[in-house]
């Protein structure tokens, strides 16, 4: 992938009942892992949602290589992949299917998608859980499936919201390694977290508090 300039968010304000983001301007460069930290309710998830085109800012713009991230429907652009804090797994699909469907949505043939999904699950040591239904997985296992799904598509922008909250140290290291690999590939990688260890492992750090950038 040819690295772009990055994802630029300018003068972003988002009001939904209360002001969740207040005049935030940040740039997430391609090829780097940027951490966005802050206490609960500081606006991390909102910032990632606007960055990924899930939300339209009340004011301001979010652009990727000059293109607006907001598509008008609330669907993310095809270049964007998410690892959601709530995982966003589809209960009617198995663990492997949850991963492979992300590839199939991008035009990968079913057989190839299944193969890549197996490999992705294997990287997170959950290949043996491929046939399990989502509801049979523990919280940490679901998080690893969500991570595998986010990493497998090779997106231009990867937005990960608390991707290690339920993982042990070993698996956290795997996730951080994958994030690093994505950045090395030239993707824009943003991680929302309140884990200091994760912040330390990232290239850049943006701190939010009550919807404002502290640094």
């Amino acid at each position: 992938m040819t690295p772009g300039t990055g994802l630029t968010m300018s003068d972003i304000t988002f009001v939904a009942g209360r002001t969740l983001l207040d005049d935030v301007s940040v740039t997430f460069p391609a090829g780097k892992v940027t951490a966005v930290s802050g206490p609960s309710g500081s606006g991390k998830t909102t910032l990632l949602s606007i960055a990924g085109g899930l939300l339209e800012p009340t004011s301001g713009t979010a652009l990727l290589d000059g293109q607006d991230m907001w598509t008008g429907s609330g669907d993310p652009r095809p270049e964007v992949a998410f690892i959601l804090q709530v995982y966003g797994l589809v209960p009617i699909l198995s663990a492997r299917e949850n991963v492979s469907i992300a590839l199939r949505a991008r035009g990968v043939r079913p057989a190839d998608a299944d193969e890549e999904a197996e490999a992705a699950l294997a990287r997170f040591s959950i290949a043996d859980l491929g046939e399990r239904q989502v509801e049979e997985l523990s919280g940490g296992q679901m998080q690893r499936v969500a991570c595998a799904r986010g990493f497998v598509v090779g997106a231009e922008v990867l937005l990960a919201d608390e991707p290690t909250s339920e993982l042990d140290e070993g698996n956290r290291a795997v996730v951080l390694g994958e994030l690093r690999a994505e950045a090395a590939r030239g993707a824009v990688v943003v991680v929302a977290t309140h884990d200091p260890a994760v912040v330390d492992a990232c290239d850049l750090h943006i701190a939010l508090d009550e919807g404002r950038v502290l640094r």
């Binding site: 998830t45 609330g74 993310p76 709530v86 966003g88 589809v90 009617i92 949505a105 509801e135 799904r149």
Partner: protein, 785 residues
């Protein structure tokens, strides 16, 4: 209480479903009970409704418990256990059930007014003890079932209950066992329905619902298996079909209520088929029983009715007399008489297309060779002369005196008849003809024959004034005129019973082998019997009576008074007009020949054909003092007499079952709607658009609709074939047409179509994906809760 109400408000979705479900079950049961009571039929056909209600409610109980999982966990942490915990759990559903019960009673009362007013043309009675008891029992059972459904939640580990993660409900061993039990129950119900001859037991009554639930469960298993097996195929057809098969294989919102939808459709098929069968039976049976388009009761005597038709309709094109002896306890003597000479003209094609058509076409063959002499008379005049009489005997007394008494040469000529008012009567003329060649004429007034009477016989006897006399006396009756009718135009023969009586008299040496009656051109020669009158029989009484027979071994030809005649079977049929499937049909005139009065148990009617002038109808009404009943009125009274309202009661049950199924379907969809929208949002995050989600929804709905329709048709056919014959839809009268309960197309197709429409409409709303309600940001908002 305010906390309870606040809690109830937060769970208003599930509780509203519980209220509505209770309302429908209680209301439906009350309507069926009250309607059945008003119609005098059985209310047991409401059983399927109670079963479906019992199946629908547990999921509501489980849902309530899941919704309160954290509360239950916290309560347990606070040390609330046992009965206190149950009370804590059940107070909300109890309030909902009570509300639903009260509303159901009100709805039931209102529904009863509509049903009885519309179908029975009757005012509704107040709610009886049975209805109130049923409502209370239903409420109690509902609470128990809700409690059982919630029991699984109480048994969960405390850690799970206080966890924020939701755990899915799995099919437990008990659920699988109950599913198999339903299938077995359906089979047993079908077996018992076909083998039991008495009133159906509870299992048979529940049979339609069991068959529907069983077929519905099989349909669910087929959906799951089909979906799992079909997944590899769908992988080549894009994400839409793939997602559809996955949802069919694993989701609960639309698939699980299929069981109830199919069950309701099966009950509906049974109700519709039953209603159609009863309707057709009533229509056909009323035709068989009535004899024509319009009938009127015509008093006690068949002869009088026949005379009335002759008088008012001499051409024989509009009116026809009939007589029916039902004899439901001695079917071998069940018989009917019709005026066969008028049958074709009056009845015409009334029986075309019915089971009695063949017999109706054969009625003209019943006309016999002879008919009774009928006359309106006020005088009876006889002329007779003596042909032979024993000469006077001279007797010598002991004192030597001799005396020669005059011979007893007095003859009584009596005519017997049946009057138009069905009373038998006779009148006699006494003539003195004491010597050979002596001639005399006598005349007497005749009572009861002014409106017409049928001559049944004559008697000629010696008037001995109680003196013993057995000498020869032969007379010639030269004339016997009854109101202008010359009785000597008939051919007379001696009644063997008179000869036998004379022969049995040990004081006379009587030889019964002689010739006692000679029909001469100049009169009737009669050799009078000693000490008894000689009864004379009309010619034709020993002629065979043509009859049509239905299912009678050794048929008897009985005249109107029940006496034997010689029988000649001219045809056999499965169904006879007036009689139905058992009996003997003969011509009224032929049966009246020589007959005494019509037996009291006979139902005598006059039939009016199509196009009979109103003036003629009015005359008949005036003459009989009765009112005409059209075929529709016969149909209605037949329907009421044999419990035809039962089919309507079952239709009410089916309607309530449909509402239960619709509620369950809607509740299932509503329960999972948020999850479905969340799933679509998750797919949109991955780049799978609304178009694909809609395509998946359509594929899922199409598959479900086809399977539901197929299961409903198959279940309906099975239920009708195996169970309908055993349900008490009608109390068939003796010798009636059989009730045809075979499956018909539209009663199977309509409920299946309605079930399919319900799935499409409710499922369509569930799968209606809109941009805003399935936006990916929904997932972000969820996390903020």
């Amino acid at each position: 209480m305010s906390r309870v109400l606040r809690g109830a408000w937060s769970r208003r979705g599930a509780l509203t479903t519980l209220v509505l479900m209770t309302l429908v079950v209680v209301g439906g049961a009350v309507v069926v009970l009250q309607f059945a009571r008003a119609a005098g039929t059985s209310a047991t056909l409401a059983a399927p409704l109670l079963l479906l209600g019992a199946v629908a409610v547990p999921s509501i109980g489980a849902e309530l418990a899941v919704a309160r999982r954290e509360e239950i966990g916290l309560a347990r942490l606070r040390g609330i256990h046992g009965l206190r915990l149950w009370r804590f759990l059940l107070v909300e559903p109890l309030l909902a059930i009570l509300l639903g019960t009260v509303a159901g009673l009100a709805i039931g009362a209102g529904g009863t007014v509509l049903a009885t007013g519309g179908w029975l043309d009757d005012a509704a009675a107040p709610l009886g003890h049975t209805a109130l008891l049923t409502a209370a029992s239903t409420a109690g059972a509902g609470l128990v079932i809700v409690a059982l459904g919630a029991a699984a939640a109480l048994r969960e580990p405390l850690a799970v209950q206080v966890s924020t993660r939701r755990r899915p409900r799995r099919a437990t061993t008990l659920t699988i066992f109950l599913s198999l039990l339903v299938i077995v129950g359906a089979g047993v119900a079908a077996y018992r329905s076909r083998s039991a001859a008495d009133e159906p037991d509870l299992l048979v009554l529940l049979g339609p619902a069991l068959v529907g639930l069983a077929l519905g469960q099989v349909a669910i298993w087929l959906i799951r298996i089909f979906a799992r097996g079909f997944t590899p195929v769908t992988e080549k057809r894009g994400l839409g079909p793939f997602l559809a098969t996955r949802r069919l294989a694993r989701a609960d919102d639309l698939v699980t209520p299929v069981r109830l939808v199919v069950a309701a459709a099966v009950v509906g098929s049974l109700a519709l088929t039953g209603a159609v069968s009863v309707d057709r039976w009533t229509d056909a049976q009323s035709r068989v029983e009535s004899g024509g388009p319009r009938i009127i009761d015509a008093g006690d005597g068949a002869f009088g009715a026949q005379q009335l038709t002759e008088r008012l309709d001499p051409d024989g094109t509009h009116l026809l007399a009939t007589a029916l002896v039902r004899n439901e306890e001695r079917l071998g003597e069940r018989r009917a008489y019709v005026d066969a000479t008028r049958w074709d003209a009056v009845v015409g094609d009334f029986y075309d297309g019915t089971a009695a058509q063949a017999a109706s076409n054969a009625v003209p063959r019943l006309v016999g060779a002879a008919a009774p002499p009928v006359v309106s008379a006020t005088r009876f005049t006889v002329t007779a002369s003596t042909l032979r009489i024993a000469p006077p005997q001279t007797y010598t007394a002991p004192d030597g005196t001799t005396f020669t008494p005059e011979p007893l040469g007095s003859v009584d000529v009596q005519v017997d008849y049946v009057a138009a008012d069905n009373r038998s009567a006779s009148t006699a003329v006494t003539l003195d003809v004491p010597s050979v060649g002596a001639r005399a004429t006598g005349s007497v007034r005749v009572r009861d024959c002014a409106d017409g009477c049928a001559v049944t016989g004559m008697r000629v006897g010696r008037n001995t004034e109680s003196v013993f006399e057995n000498s020869e006396f032969v007379v010639l009756v030269e004339a016997a005129d009854l109101g202008g009718l010359d009785l000597l135009d008939q051919t007379w023969s001696p009644d063997p019973s008179s000869l036998e009586t004379a022969a049995n008299d040990r004081f006379t040496r009587f030889d019964p082998s002689g010739t006692f009656v000679v029909n001469r051109p100049d009169g009737l020669q009669v050799d009078l019997l000693p000490n008894t009158a000689l009864a004379l029989l009309l010619e034709g009484l020993d002629e065979p009576v043509p009859v049509l027979v239905a299912d009678v071994e050794d048929p008897l030809a009985l005249d109107l008074s029940g006496d034997d005649r010689v029988v000649q079977v001219v045809g056999e049929a499965t169904t006879l007009p007036l009689l139905g499937s058992v009996g003997v049909l003969s011509d009224l005139r032929t049966a009246a020949l020589g007959s005494g009065p019509t037996v009291p148990s006979t139902e005598v009617r006059i039939v009016a054909g199509e196009g009979t002038p109103q003036s003629l109808l009015d005359q008949v009404e005036q003459a009989t003092g009765s009112t005409w009943r059209p075929l529709a009125a016969v149909r209605t009274s037949l329907d009421q007499a044999n419990g035809g309202a039962q089919a309507r009661a079952y239709a009410l049950t089916a309607l309530a079952c449909a509402l239960v199924a619709l509620l369950a379907l809607g509740a299932g969809v509503a329960r999972h709607l948020r999850d479905y929208r969340r799933d679509v949002a998750s797919l949109r995050v991955l780049g799978i658009g609304l178009g694909t989600a809609r395509q998946a929804g359509r594929a899922e709905l199409l598959t479900l609709t086809v399977l539901v329709a197929g299961a409903a048709i198959a279940g309906g056919w099975l239920a009708v074939t195996l169970l309908l014959g055993g349900l008490p839809l009608l109390s068939l009268p003796v010798a009636s047409l059989p009730l045809d309960t075979s499956p018909r197309a539209w009663p199977l197709l309509v409920p299946a179509a309605l079930a399919a429409v319900a799935v499409v409409v409710v499922g369509g709303r569930a799968r209606a994906v809109r941009t805003w309600t399935t936006r990916p940001a929904l997932l972000r908002e969820e996390e903020g809760r």
